[in-house]
Structure formats: structure tokens, C-alpha cells
Symmetry: C2
């Protein structure tokens, strides 16, 4: 089979590509070809038995998707997006990439479907940003979608389009709302959520980190490894079991900052915890206070999506997948 990853130069796209190459299959289907596209040309990866095609493309250009599906990939992982902060600062850019880019892709697939019966699986990565306060403590699969950011709005519209195009039989779509990714590898970034990762990642590397919120703050997390697992599972799950509600919240670990710190202490000791400096930032506290704390992700669990088993497991996955061994 042929898999296409759009957004393949991103953190999750890169990890997904590596996993698909390592395993050489999705479920029981052998991967013959993997196409990796992004606005930034993705790194050339060694594919072994898997033929790799790599290229740069801008999904905000209506012609881009037409070219991307020319070879009729069986599975399309649509991960390309600009994130929350940027979509909020640049309204036009957010709508152009996150909404129009997604719609161009769906339209290109529909045109191909009408031409020659093309019918790929499309995995769309949505976000918890589709939810907006006031929120219950535990959010069910039936809870209303009321985003409070342009990014969340664009993801929610992507979900609606995906469901309608799937209902009409133009393609076989599934939208997965990813928990906040933790520990996000790489450098600290300016996202309001950045500290959830940096209070672990920096101390694990012997560096200081700032905690801007109270330790009682609770949120919903998945490791990059689990998130990549969701995408692979979404590519092979039997969509006839899903019904018309094609979008769902992924399972995660509901943890407080305190839970994060205790997991860090178990794995890296008091020294590591001592590197966290608590400097409350009311602006960040205000933003975070509107975020979801926990979900009852029953639909996804019933379909076999698997979360990390604990916050310690999240840290261990990070150490195995990304971090230089501590002290070694």
C-alpha cells in the first residue's frame, strides 16, 4: 500500500514516518511506498524496503492536493497545520492553511472519487482546542464543540467537512482529537502549554525550567508515541464500527502538574525536581483555566485506541524515543 503524510516535517509527522518505515506495514498491510510532504521539505529518510518520496508543497494552494493524490495513496495522514498561536495572530493564514487547505484536499479526493472511484482512508488530526469553557470536569463524547480560538474553529470545521464527505461516500475519513502532547521533544516554545513539557524535558537534561501555574492544574496528555499510535490505529480501524460521527476525542492521561512532578521525581530524583522554579504567571494561569481537564473517551477506547498507561510511562517513552540518556 501507499501512505501519504502531509505535514511530514512536523514533530508528529516525522515520528509517524519513522514508525511506518520501521514497521513496514499498517496493521497487516505491507507499505510499498511512503510519500512525505510538507511546506518545509522533509528530511530524506532511509526507507529500507519502503520506497520513499519526499517533497515540498503548500496545501494553501488549491493545486497542491491534486498533485499530492495523483498517485492515489491508500491512506492519507493529514497533519499539516499552523498551530494555535500563529492562527490567532494571523487570521488569514490560519483560515487559508487550516481550513482552505483541508477543504482543497477533501475536494481533490472527491474529484478523484468521482472520476475513477478513488476511495482512500483519510486520518485528520484534530485538537482539544475544539472545546471551549465552560466545560464539565470530565467531558463526554456527546459534549458540544464551541472553540474559543481560530485554530479550534478551523479544526472543528475540518471535522464537520470530514464527516460530511465521508457520509457522502467520497472517502473514508476519521478525525482524531489529540490530547496535548507531552513531553514534546526539542526546544522550549512560546505556546501557553509549553511548560507542561518543559518542566520535565529541561530537568531531565539537567537544566532549569519555569512552572507558571499552580501544581493543582489538571490537563489531558499523550506522549508523541501514543499520538503516533492513534494515527496508525486510525489508518486501520474498521470505520463501519464508527457510524456517522467520524470524529472523536483520543484517550489520554488526565494528570495534574503535581502528578507530573511526582512522576519526574520517581524517574529522575529530587535533584531533577529541584530544577523547577515556580513563578506564577497570571496570564498563563487564566488561559489554562479554560482548558479541558479530563475526558471520558469511551468511543475511542471501544474502537481500540490506546492511551499511555500513566504519567511515568509518558516520561519513559520520551527517554526511550528522544532523550539522550540522563548522565550517560
Amino acid at each position: 500500500m501507499h501512505c501519504l503524510i502531509i505535514g511530514a516535517a512536523g514533530m508528529l509527522g516525522d515520528g509517524l514516518a519513522k514508525r511506518l518505515i520501521r514497521e513496514g506495514k499498517v496493521g497487516t498491510r505491507k507499505i510499498a511506498k511512503l510519500s512525505l510532504f510538507d511546506i518545509i521539505e522533509p528530511k530524506k529518510l532511509e526507507g529500507g524496503d519502503v520506497e520513499i518520496a519526499t517533497g515540498a508543497t503548500d496545501i494553501a494552494d488549491p493545486a497542491a492536493a491534486v498533485a499530492l493524490i495523483e498517485a492515489r495513496p491508500d491512506v492519507i495522514f493529514h497533519l499539516a497545520a499552523i498551530v494555535s498561536g500563529e492562527a490567532e495572530r494571523d487570521f488569514d493564514k490560519g483560515y487559508s492553511i487550516n481550513l482552505d487547505g483541508t477543504r482543497y484536499l477533501f475536494e481533490a479526493v472527491r474529484a478523484a472519487h468521482e472520476k475513477d472511484g478513488y476511495f482512500p482512508r483519510i486520518v485528520f488530526t484534530s485538537s482539544l482546542a475544539v472545546f471551549g469553557s465552560p466545560l464539565p470536569e470530565v467531558i463526554s463524547d456527546d459534549f458540544i464543540i464551541t472553540p474559543r480560538s481560530s485554530y479550534g474553529t478551523q479544526k472543528a470545521i475540518g471535522e464537520l467537512l470530514l464527516a460530511d464527505y465521508s457520509r457522502k461516500g467520497f472517502f473514508d475519513g476519521i478525525g482524531i482529537r489529540l490530547p496535548t502532547i507531552c513531553i514534546r521533544p526539542g526546544k522550549p516554545n512560546a505556546a501557553a502549554s509549553g511548560f507542561f513539557s518543559s518542566i520535565l524535558r529541561e530537568p531531565l537534561a539537567g537544566q532549569a525550567a519555569v512552572l507558571p501555574v499552580d501544581t493543582s492544574v489538571r490537563h489531558w496528555f499523550a506522549s508523541p508515541r501514543a499520538a503516533i499510535g492513534f494515527m496508525v490505529h486510525a489508518a486501520m480501524v474498521d470505520t463501519s464500527l464508527i457510524g456517522e460521527r467520524r470524529n472523536m476525542t483520543m484517550p489520554g492521561v488526565s494528570a495534574t502538574v503535581s502528578d507530573e512532578i511526582e512522576a519526574l521525581r520517581k524517574i529522575a530524583g529530587d535533584e531533577a525536581v529541584a530544577l523547577i522554579n515556580h513563578q506564577p504567571d497570571p496570564a498563563i494561569e487564566a488561559i489554562i483555566s479554560t482548558w479541558p481537564q479530563a475526558f471520558d473517551a469511551k468511543r475511542a477506547l471501544d474502537l481500540g485506541f490506546e492511551a499511555d498507561s500513566s504519567f511515568e510511562a509518558i516520561i519513559e517513552a520520551y527517554l526511550e524515543d528522544y532523550a539522550p540518556k540522563i548522565g550517560g
Copy 2:
């Protein structure tokens, strides 16, 4: 003030125009000018003190909205849409009018806002079609939006855009999900919901009507008079009380077909009821079985939106507003 109705040749648009002319104000604000636009040129109405402008325009043309808001109307009633059946049959037309047309309008207003601070109230008529089964018996304001038609998808996307543009301060939007309109004046139509009106409208005019479903079927209704009342109230409600969830389900009358028939009997007697022929149609029964039965429209009620008081009141409003007097 200046009010603009887009979709003014439609059933509700025409009724709204007449009410605005009759009352000459929205709340306490005097209407100086009323602009009536539709793809079909609306009938010329006598405006009395109100200056009337009438014209034809196609909102699927991106230039249309720019021209419509040239004179900077204070309130825009955006009612233009193609309905469910047509949007389902003609996928491109539905997206082009119901989604792109709405987005062009919002974009034109945003451009004007950025140019000269223009900040109108926009009243957007959404629909119960944003909801999709499985549904609880009574649907709360927090229930998830999962449309099962392209029309419902387009309305749900309009809602999301309206909320995001309002949150960003580009205009002051409110989206009102109208109950099914009953009794819809005029000729029988092919909509699956048509019988809810025709089993009353036809017998009230001494004609036979077909009932294709069981009398136990329950649904959510408003008279045209109540629906027009929602629009007027939406134009003047204090949106600072609404918060960021700019869209809401309107209150209605939850009634079974049996309730409809008993109300008809009270008002027009057994003779009228005898004109209803029960001819079950499994196709229509299947469609209707997925529809909402009742809502807890608390948010709208708290904001002062007022439903019809009973099914009899719905019939009486019809007789007063539209029907030739029975036997007279």
C-alpha cells in the same frame, strides 16, 4: 437605523420585512431604511415611513456581499440559503451558497470593520439539522453538533464562523437555530417534513392531506410568527449576556402528530380531522425517526426568546397571519 435582509424573497424573509415595516422599529430603535435582497428580486413593499431598497443578488458571488454592505446596514439578517433537499442533491451548490456565501458575507464585514470600524449585528438563521442521531429525548444546550446532511453541515460551519468572527470583534453575531416551521404557508412541498404543516393547512382549507407517519411521532415546532419574533429579538438582545457561545437553539413547542390533530379538532372540528388520510410511508418514517423531539432551550429562554404558547396558538397564528377565514 438601517436593516438589511438577505433572503428577503423567502417565506420568513418576506414575513420579517412586513413586520419591520409594520412596527417601524427594532426594540426602541427607529428603522429609517430597509434593504431587501435575494437571488429572486423580492416584491416591492410599501414602506410608509421606512425607505425601502429592493434588489437581486447572488451571495455565492464574492462581490455580492461587498456591495450589500456598502451602505453599512446596522443589522444584517442573513436568511439566504438553499434548503436541505436541494443541498443534499447538489453538493456544490449547497457548499457554494450556504457555506461560501455566508463566509463571503462575514469576510466583507470584517474588511469593512478593519477599514472603518463597521460593527453590525448579524442575525444568522441556523437549523435543527445541525443535530444528528443518536439523540436524547430532550436535547440540552450542551449537546454535540453532528449533522447528518450537507445542509446541516453548512449551517454548523456558519455557526462556527459566526462565533469566531464575533469573538475576534469583527461583528456582533448571533446564530439562532429555528425549530421546524409549522404551519408553513403556501403550497405543499416535497420536504420530508412537509406533512407536519400539510395535515393542518390543507384540512383548514377544506382539502385532504396525507399523514405518512405514526401519530406518536414527536418534533419541535415554531410558527412563522414566532420564528420572525426570534429574529427581531436576536437583532436587539444584549449580546454581552451571551458570552462566546453565539449560537443557540430557539425555544419551541414539542408536539406529537396526535397533539397537532387534537389542536386541529379544537379549532376546526371533526370534519377537518376527517380530511387527514393515514398512509404510512416507511421511507419518511425512517428519516423522521432520526430527528430531534424536544429541547431544553434554556439559554434562549433566559435571553428572552419566546416560543408559541401551545400547538393551538400555532394554528391560530397561521389563521390570523396567512389563511383565508374558514368557511368565510
